[in-house]
């Protein structure tokens, strides 16, 4: 393995470490629940992505075979992370928001989480 690749792998690991750290720091520093939700989205995208790219490069360069396992981790994270965030946001809306504190809905009547009674489906 040439030193160039070692530097490249190390660089990706450091980048992901930095973003993972900033994400965790943001979780402590930000002061309201909805803002806090933004911090972990960084850890799951660039934070994990950097480690995965480093892992692909490492298996390609030092073990000499292409390993694409890592792409699956990205795929599953990209599928599950938005759903988790959406659940937390919905709980926040249920507990702390009223129709008056959210922006105007536009052409519909209510935000779905706050709609108390089912309305007829308009096409």
């Amino acid at each position: 393995m040439t030193p160039v690749y070692e530097f490249l792998i190390a660089a990706f690991l450091v980048i992901s470490g930095v973003f993972g750290f900033v994400g965790s720091y943001g979780l402590i520093k930000l002061d309201n629940p909805m803002s806090r939700l933004h911090a972990p989205t960084k850890a799951t995208t660039l934070g994990v992505g950097g480690v995965l790219i480093a892992s692909i490069l490492h298996s390609l360069m030092s073990e000499g075979h292409l390993s694409l396992h890592e792409l699956l981790i990205t795929l599953f994270l990209f599928l599950t992370a938005p759903i988790t965030a959406n659940f937390i946001a919905k709980v926040h809306i249920h507990r702390h928001e009223t129709p008056g504190s959210l922006p105007v809905v536009g052409e519909d009547q209510d935000w779905a989480t706050l709609a108390t009674e089912p309305t007829a489906k308009a096409e």
Binding site: L30, K90, G106
Partner: protein, 165 residues
């Protein structure tokens, strides 16, 4: 034709599941290809009652462009949000709710848009309106909420319209 439709309710999902299985095995062989394909037939067939519609995917070139745009935006937005967290005090941040009126009507397309908004740091999609005609988005720092709405509509929704509708 009807029988083919019932046996393969989601052809794209069949291909995708086969690929996922090959990636899980992490070594290409005819055995795993066949078994992956078998899973790709059985799983969409069993789960088709949960997903009765079949979304139409047009314009594959635009799908690649969309993926690249989103990946680029994820990197850029990560840096922007990291700077906000590290160098801006909580009092200076202006978090805001933004309402995004949707032109998209396909449920799958709206799901992709909402997931994209959440994955790009700085914005989280929180809710849809009761008939699915607008999307509620929370922004970490939005001095100008209208600019964020226009950017999402122009960068993501316009491309998704070309892919799905």
């Amino acid at each position: 034709m009807n029988l083919v439709r019932r046996l393969f309710p989601h052809p794209v999902l069949t291909v995708l599941l086969t690929l996922v299985w090959l990636l899980l095995v992490n070594r290409f062989s005819l055995n795993s290809l066949l078994f992956g394909f078998l899973l790709g037939i059985i799983i969409p067939f069993i789960t088709s009652p949960f997903w009765p519609d079949r979304p139409t995917l047009r314009n594959p070139a635009m799908m690649i462009e969309y993926t690249l745009v989103v990946l680029y935006d994820i990197v850029v937005a990560n840096i922007v949000v990291a700077r906000l967290i590290l160098f801006k005090s909580n009092a200076d941040l202006q978090p805001a709710w933004v309402c995004i009126p949707l032109d998209l009507r396909t449920p799958e397309a709206i799901t992709v848009l909402a997931a994209t908004i959440t994955l790009t740091p700085g914005t989280v999609s929180a809710d849809t309106s009761d008939h699915g005609h607008s999307l509620l988005v929370h922004c970490l720092d939005a001095p100008d909420p209208d600019a964020i709405r226009d950017e999402i509509k122009d960068r993501y929704e316009r491309r998704l319209m070309e892919i799905f509708e």
